[in-house]
Amino acid sequence: MRHDHLLTANQLTRGDIELVLDRAAEVDANPASFGKRHAGKLLGLCFFEPSTRTKMSFEAAMKRLGGDVVDMGSVDSSSVKKGESLADTVRVVEGYADALVLRHPLMGAAKMASEFVDVPLVNAGDGAGHHPTQTLLDLYTIRENAGLDDLSIGIMGDLKYGRTVHSLATALTNFDASQHFVSPESLELPRSVRYDLHEAGATVREHTDLETVLPQLDVLYVTRIQRERFPDENEYHRIAGEYQIDAETLEDAKDDLTVMHPLPRVDEIAPEIDDTDHARYFEQAHNGVPVRMALLDLLLEGDS
């Protein structure tokens, strides 16, 4: 990879993405051969926001590469509680680790932090901004199930604040993909993502309901509509209810439609879909480990 840091999906070329995904496929095919690749290396985990899947999969990935992690722990038990700046925190942890993973509630936090450290820094989610490693595992899952070209993908839910959506939509501009965005008007894509899609010449359609576009989709990527975004609880329930899918919803879908969700879900996808051939969201979560192993392997191999 040409990049020292992975901050947003905007950095990623098609070549970069294929390099990571191909390496992840190698990991999947022969995990044992990667087992000692980075013995003695340490990954610094700086999570300023709660995380289960992202944090655990980075930890698992580093350990499966033969390395280990140092974890700053929860914000409440760290020096952040004493008022330490993010810039200082990452400079300190840089001294303990060979690479850093940062999750932070503010947009642009990873970009700023990367300017204070010399070790590779990976953005594991910055507020409503970006989540590029989620995108890499999303693309890996999509490639395994539907291929990445000649693809028709629906992305539904909270498109305004959904960082996984922002990164995925941007990364998909590297491929021959028609993107259909399905959301209430109040949660449409932000101006910055629209700008990137327009500049990239992406094929984009926007919809307020899934019904019209569902039959042509190869992939349906569902995200959680976040209750905390709505000042009025009744408004949340009215809108959220229109963006839930169940077996009846999918009657008009292609037989091989792949349904994905970055998780955690609340009630966007009915449990009855879990056992169908459409459901790929748990496989998607599991892919976090080989994909993050591949990414860390590529970022760390320069100094191996």
Binding site: S85, P105, M107, G108, K111, M112, E115, G129, R191, Y195
Partner: protein, 155 residues
Amino acid sequence: MSDTDKQLRVSKIENGTVIDHVRGGQALNVLAILGIDGSGGEQVAIGMNVPSGTLATKDIVKVEGRELSQDEVDVLSLIAPDATINIVRDYEVVEKHRVDRPESVTGVLSCPNRNCITNVDEPVETRFAVLRDGVRCEFCGTIVREDIASHIADD
């Protein structure tokens, strides 16, 4: 009324910079974007809403004793794209040039996104990429197209 008469309306300067053809009402924003507030001892003269042949009305800013750098001049393009810059020495205009749009501006604008890392107490200057029709925060990606002058950062 001749050009000379218009210049005299806001007295000639001996040495310094005359920023002409600023859109009417933008003179104070020009000073703000240049970080000129008088605390540096500069003598500043402003003409606002002066009749203009090319613009309906224009503002003129004269800064005595200071020649603007190219970087400073380029930043002006964000709010005064039609401005002309006259460098004056010994009462004569010795250089005259137009502003060019820079690729980015640092420490000049504040980000309107309250969830941007540049709006908390971190040791970072704001940085905006200059687009064809606006500016974009290089940290959070927020695009500002309307009323850029209102985002000029307070020192």
